[in-house]
Subunit: 295 residues, 2 copies
DNA sequence: CCAACCCATACGTTTTCGGTATGTCTCATG
DNA sequence: CATGAGACATACCGAAAACGTATGGGTTGG
């Protein structure tokens, strides 16, 4: 069975005429006539009654017609669906993100993506430093917002923005009165830390900053989320050092201050498998850059 | 879009390997590989990821796959349906019958047809002499049981059996005591007649019989059905002359007697358009002959 | 009786398809 | 590190299928 024959058959059945159908198919009438007869020979039964004024479906032809036109429609739909997926007009995209970005980026990124990728099923997955790489390689996530980027031969990276590390302090703290805080003012003060560097690379950037200035801050507690860290800071338990984007979604009563003598930055990057469908990723990148630029 | 390509695609997707699929399709591996690449070129997007250990559907491929396999199944089903209809294993057959045959033939014919044509939608249509020809020509009925046959260049006829005309009389009538009745004994007796010859050819056979023997029977009433005629005979209104098959389904109290000096017969024939699907008709004929032989 | 219309057939040309031989890449193994 | 196996890709050639043009045959309507 050849789809060409089915298409010809459906055209003739619809036009009730070989000549008309040939015109519609932009071919000459004789070859179409031949194809129809070949189809009939293949099925071992006439599909049309030849009248003097055109062709008319037999019962067998009717039985074939209903299925054939559906099959053609399905095939066309399949082709269209594949093209749509390839073009990023339809499909699935699983977006991973490092949790420090959740409160700052997601509220704006999610609606932006739904706008720029209509017809695409989006889902969002929280990542940690240890899970992000295998999830990307397994295609469990299509693209990941990382801070900082992943380096791996199979993974492609696009820098989307950078974040400065800032001090988060209670508004009533004496440090809050300075517009910029010297790092050594932090000496000995209790630190509310994010998870260990193996899970959360931000923590290693913070550690590097303090080590460079030979400042020691005792870690009074490690928390899982930026929200918890900010809550403890507000409670007066200590200070925290976070990427600037954590400011978004921070409750009143907490101020963020840059450092006077340090401007350590962490890059925000999108990471994806090199062989992933490129169009979806490209659209994602545009949206993500737009959102991150507004932070 | 060519169905061959879709079939190849589905095979490769299912086997997750060009080589395996080629084996299943009984062809060499290289041409299959070429066809897959042509399909990808046609769609403008890769459908597979080529790994070292086989092929793996991309998202676009997945989108195509679900529709393509359905489309193939539908096409195959369409082909099978057309073949089944052609072979008489499935389809529709509208069976027409002259009403005089209804009580005698239908009770046995209907179950016999349902047995011999399983999967065929049967329906039964009552015909009169004036409607049977146009209904056959319009294909509103596929085959008609006629008494007698129709003669028309487009209509084919097969004789199935013959019916002798018999006298139907009340059991208490003096005529009932004879094993065979001379026609001239009917002279002047009231006749319960079926519809006029234009509608019911049996009536013209009856008229011919009487005319040949120069017997006149006043028509005391014309009725539409054999049942009505028998009812009136039983009521003592008069006599009736009917095909022998009317005996079946006649109430007790009515006897059928042959004529001593006449054996007029009417043929029972099946009639159908020459161009109708032959297999259904052939099976119908076998069943009808079997049933009529038992009358 | 002829012109118009429609489908069927014949034949030469072109396109496409399938098979064989071979290349390339990756992985596993000694 | 070399090598061999396994998988897909490429190149080329012969065969088959499809297409177009020209033409035939049957029916309808003027």
């Amino acid at each position: 069975m050849d789809l060409r024959r089915l298409r010809y058959f459906v055209a003739v059945a619809e036009e009730r005429s070989v000549g008309k159908a040939a015109e519609r198919l932009r071919m000459a009438q004789p070859p179409l006539s031949v194809q129809i007869r070949k189809l009939e020979a293949e099925l071992g039964t006439p599909l049309f009654r030849r009248g003097t004024r055109g062709m008319d479906l037999t019962e067998a032809g009717l039985a074939l017609m209903s299925r054939a036109s559906e099959a053609l429609a399905l095939a066309a739909e399949g082709v269209e669906a594949a093209r749509a997926v390839a073009a990023g007009r339809r499909g699935r995209l699983s977006v991973g993100y490092m949790f420090v970005l959740a409160s700052a980026v997601l509220p704006q990124l999610v609606p932006e993506l739904r706008r720029s990728l209509p017809g695409v099923d989006l889902d969002f997955v929280e990542l940690s430093a240890s899970t992000r790489e295998p999830l990307l390689l397994d295609r469990a996530v299509g693209v990941a917002l990382c801070m900082p980027a992943i380096h791996h031969p199979e993974i492609q990276v696009a820098q989307i923005g950078t974040q400065t590390l800032m001090l988060a302090a209670p508004a009533r703290s004496p440090l809050a009165r300075m517009t910029a805080v010297p790092v050594d003012k932090l000496q000995g003060r209790p630190l509310i830390a994010l998870p260990r560097p193996e899970e959360e690379p931000t923590s290693s950037a913070v550690a590097a900053l303090l080590r460079r200035h030979q400042v020691v801050m005792p870690i009074i507690s490690r928390v899982e989320t930026v929200h918890s860290a900010l809550g403890l800071v507000l409670a007066g338990e200590g200070l925290s050092i976070l990427p600037a984007c954590a400011k978004l979604g921070a409750p009143p009563g907490i101020v963020f201050r840059p450092f006077l003598d340090a401007a350590d930055t962490i890059e925000i990057a999108a990471c994806w498998r090199r062989d992933s469908s490129s169009q979806l990723i490209r659209t994602f990148l545009k949206s993500a850059e737009k959102v991150v630029a507004r932070i």
